[in-house]
């Protein structure tokens, strides 16, 4: 039997989860505690806990404070004065990778919980459309945005969920490749197993200890703290390598290392200074010290991006992707940004909740491209993934249960555009049957690694996977 439960809980494990729980719990502490003492508003406190004098309980809210470069001395090598950072920096040429080709920027969005591919890319025409509407009944999407081939203009026989108008518009411009029937043979239908398999992205058997992008990070000759960033407080498996893992930034303003309060600054500088002296506790202690200094550096460097040119606006995927665009714009050398968008595990009353999740996804991708500077756009590709799709048949609760194949998006000016891979057949499927995958997900990774990231897909994936025509070429 399959044990289902909230995916938000599930994700927390594999990756050490997402931003949500910690950020919100922290906020809830503050709200609860401050309510008890009749003091500050939660909003005034979050991100400013280190601000010494604002902490006097019952005192006035802490105003947002500008960073004082005089206190934040640029002479302290471990700390970068945030004022040195331009929100949008000019970039003359793309980064050239080891293979001598330009290396693109990748934004990867995890749709956690198992996104319903059939209600995302909706079959309209022919027996596929007929079967889909029959199997789904009340859970069928009846008003999809019909997709025409971006080149020929001919009807594709598929449509996008009506809550994805921005993606439909990009599709019409030839900037969205949609991989159909993506998955892998032998899926166990467990969130845990399948998410691990997708994140590991390897041909090998055995417990997944590293992820596909993490193993790519391992190959960097000169690692930097901004190579890969997770929007959230912890690093999912796909960004964990054997020797390296991504850094992280919270979806709200980070505060460790960022408070401008003079007393905080003294403490930060003490920590940073300590990291320059080898500890008699040995090299592990030194590395730990360096990690604290590095964390302050990342947090303080990125801090202005949370408010300039405007506040992020939200803590959800929309705010997270705005931050992602600003990180790319700032030319910090970021190659990969990863963000999670969860709660796709819609076993009951799917239409409303699934639609809401897609509305946020659509808005977030729109916000991302609106924020991304034109100079960066042709060097940036967005991809989504989800651990599995849903059963073709709706269940008795007007939801859908765990399935196998789903679809994913590859988006950006360098996307090839169009539908890629065959859609699995729906003919003759029974209530508990699955759509089997027609395209192995590692073929997507192979294409991204080879064409976009200038990497060797065979060594990173541990096997050879035929690339897919999802990109028209590398970054420009």
């Amino acid at each position: 039997m399959t044990m289902d439960h909230e995916f938000s809980d599930a994700m927390r494990r594999l990756s050490v989860a997402d931003d949500g729980p910690t950020a919100w719990s922290r906020r809830q502490f503050l709200i609860r505690a401050m309510a008890a003492t009749g003091g500050l508003t939660a909003a005034g406190m979050v991100g400013r806990m280190g601000s010494a004098h604002a902490q006097e309980v019952g005192g006035p809210p802490a105003p947002p404070e500008a960073v004082n470069p005089a206190v934040y001395s640029p002479a302290t090598p471990e700390l970068v004065a945030p004022t040195e950072l331009l929100p949008v920096a000019p970039q003359a040429a793309p980064v050239i990778g080891e293979a001598g080709v330009p290396v693109g920027q990748l934004l990867i969005i995890q749709l956690g919980g198992g996104n319903d591919g059939l209600n995302t890319l909706v079959p309209i025409a022919g027996s596929l459309g007929t079967d889909y509407r029959a199997y789904r009944g009340q859970v069928a999407i009846t008003n999809p945005i019909a997709l025409n081939d971006p080149l020929s203009g001919a009807a594709t026989g598929f449509g996008l969920h009506p809550n994805l108008p921005y993606l439909a518009q990009l599709y019409a411009q030839g900037q969205v490749s949609i991989v159909r029937g993506v998955g892998y043979a032998g899926s166990t239908l467990s969130h845990f197993d399948t998410t691990a398999t997708w994140m590991a992205g390897t041909a090998a058997n055995g417990p997944p200890n590293t992820g596909w992008l993490g193993r790519w990070l391992d190959t960097f000759p000169t690692p930097g703290p901004f190579d890969a960033i997770q929007i959230g407080s912890s690093i999912p498996l796909h960004l964990v390598g054997a020797t390296r893992k991504a850094s992280s930034l919270p979806p709200h303003e980070p505060y460790f290392g960022t408070s401008a309060d003079a007393s905080d600054q003294l403490a930060y500088r003490q920590l940073a200074a300590a990291s320059t002296t080898p500890s008699s506790r040995g090299p592990l202690a030194d590395r730990m010290n360096a990690a604290f200094a590095g964390a302050m550096r990342i947090n303080s460097t990125a801090l202005p991006l949370y408010s300039q040119p405007a506040p992020l606006g939200s803590n959800d995927l929309v705010g997270g992707l705005r931050l992602a665009a600003r990180l790319f714009n700032a030319n910090l050398g970021v190659r990969v940004i990863s963000a999670g968008h969860h709660d796709f595990d819609q076993h009951d009353e799917e239409l409303g909740t699934h639609g809401d999740r897609l509305t946020v996804l659509n808005a977030a991708i729109a916000a991302f491209f609106a924020e991304l500077s034109p100079a960066q756009a042709s060097r940036t590709t967005v991809m989504t993934f989800s651990e599995f799709g849903r059963k073709p048949w709706a269940n008795a609760s007007r939801g859908t249960d765990h399935g196998k194949a789903s679809c994913l998006f590859v988006i950006g000016p360098q996307a090839a555009g169009g539908l890629v891979g065959d859609h699995p057949s729906l003919a003759g499927l029974g209530q508990w049957d699955d759509m089997e995958a027609t395209t192995d997900f590692r073929r997507v990774y192979a294409s991204i690694l080879q064409t976009w990231l200038g990497a060797n897909p065979t060594s990173i994936l541990g096997g050879t996977y035929a690339p897919l025509p999802i990109l028209r070429g590398g970054p420009l």
Binding site: H5, V16, T22, F29, D193, S247
Partner: protein
């Protein structure tokens, strides 16, 4: 001959979760042999579960049961004592944690609080007991049967997941068996499954003979009709594999509790003890912590605290439990108890060194100070006795004393000289304490001292 406080602290960090000030004071006057006896004492191996585990009102809200278990285990680890026999034993809790990581089973897939509890109870009752007994009991626990899919392993449709991992991760290590051995192991375990009760969250172990494979099959040099537990017995009895198994476990114990990459002679010695004591775990632990290498600089500087060890040490130093620590911080730090990332468990040691880990540890430290010391918190005057700012400026302790006291409170009687110098420099830069009658700011200087201690490398080291 008394034992240095630094040595007491090192031993208690590895045997358990770090020393309290009371333990440092009580143990250091004793002889080393007396310290060992107290530190390695085993008791309270059959704890009663938190009430949520068997609370029918929770229905199938299994995550609530598991959350309650998380809080319960946090409180036990925080409460461990090497000097107060009414408290849980450090070694029992440390070994339960070790085996939870070794036989990693996640509540994510085994979404069943009672099954997870039964497994955790085994880690307590047999974690310092016998490896053969433990291994067999875990294998037929419904948590493992579910987690590694053995519940669906039948003679018609073998599922090798458990049969393989038993050898690869639990007993031998990769490369010490063939694919044919995996086939036999899976066949041997076929039919060992789960009986679901009136509710899906009520599970018991059930062997279904009609699902069980009864063919003659070869396994590690012996051909017979195999039944699951016989696989464990033969690995441990077979002269060709028992030493491999013993070394596999002893190497892991040393790697997690002493330092990575132990020399061959250490592993060989411990493995011989393991075998000659018929897989009893305590003789190995007794030998391990008494070896000269345990006291080497390589060992003392060889391990970074895992998030669980870090949070529990902080709770012990401050004197607060799960209500204040909020174990969900582990999720952000990357080590959520009862939810290991996969069947191979968490990775040890320097895996935990990263910028994101540093940020969450710093955030946790700050949140802990705030939680514990706000006026309605459990310890509103946290560390006032360390800074002594109620005294006249001239009578206040000097910066070195303040910093040293603060580290001692957190179970570190011997902070590195560079750490002390650094924090003293910070105290001097703050000046208030020694030049002004003004008390330290509760939310400013005192909070910062707390955070600087908790983010120091000395607090990150196990």
């Amino acid at each position: 001959m008394p034992v240095s406080q630094a040595d007491v602290a090192h031993l208690l960090r590895r045997v358990g979760f770090g020393a309290t000030e009371a333990e440092l004071n009580a143990l250091s006057p004793l002889s080393l042999s007396q310290v060992y006896t107290k530190a390695l004492a085993v008791r309270d191996k059959s704890p009663t579960p938190p009430s949520a585990v068997n609370d029918p009102a929770l229905g199938t809200l299994e995550w609530e049961r598991i959350n309650a278990m998380k809080n319960w285990w946090t409180d036990r680890m925080v409460a461990t004592s090497a000097i107060d026999t009414s408290k849980p034993s450090p070694l029992v809790e440390k070994m339960a944690l070790f085996w939870h990581n070794h036989f990693a089973t996640s509540g994510d897939k085994c979404y069943n609080g009672r099954a997870m509890w039964e497994q955790n109870l085994l880690f307590h009752t047999q974690g310092t007991g016998n490896f053969r007994t433990l291994c067999k009991a875990v294998s037929i626990g419904t948590a493992m049967l579910n987690y590694l899919d053995n519940e669906s392993n039948t003679k018609w449709s073998p599922n090798q997941n458990f049969g393989r991992e038993l050898m690869e991760l639990f007993m031998l290590g990769v490369g010490n068996y063939t694919e044919s051995d995996v086939v036999t192991s899976a066949a041997a375990w076929s039919g060992h499954g789960v009986q679901y009760g009136t509710n899906w969250n009520l599970t018991t172990y059930l062997f279904r003979p009609e699902w069980h494979d009864t063919q003659l099959r070869p396994f590690l040099g012996k051909t017979q009709v195999w039944n699951g537990p016989q696989i464990i017995d033969w690995i441990l009895d077979n002269p060709a594999t028992r030493t491999i198994a013993a070394k596999f476990i002893c190497r892991k114990l040393w790697t997690w509790l002493v330092h990575p990459n132990p020399a061959d002679n250490i592993v060989n010695d411990l493995a011989a003890i393991f075998i000659s004591n018929k897989w009893a775990i305590m003789p190995v632990l007794n030998a391990m912590f008494r070896r000269a290498e345990f006291w080497s600089a390589t060992a003392r500087n060889g391990l970074v605290r895992t998030p669980v060890e870090y949070m529990v040490a902080a709770g012990r130093g401050v004197g607060v439990g799960s209500a204040t620590l909020h174990p969900h911080w582990w999720d952000a730090m990357g080590q959520s108890l009862f939810y290991p990332p996969n069947v191979s468990g968490w990775r040890p040691n320097d895996y935990w060194i990263s910028t994101s880990a540093a940020t969450t540890r710093a955030d946790f430290a700050e949140n802990l100070y705030w939680q514990a010391s706000n006026p309605s918190g459990p310890l509103p005057n946290l560390w006032k006795d360390i800074v002594n700012d109620d005294l006249a400026p001239a009578q206040r302790p000097d910066p070195t004393t303040v910093v040293t006291k603060a580290f001692r409170r957190m179970g570190v009687p011997n902070p590195a000289p560079e750490t002390v110098t650094s924090l003293v420099a910070w105290c001097v830069a703050n000046r208030h304490q020694w030049t002004s009658a003004e008390p330290w700011s509760h939310w400013g200087e005192r909070a910062h001292l707390f955070r600087l201690v908790l983010t120091s490398p000395d607090m990150q080291m196990a």
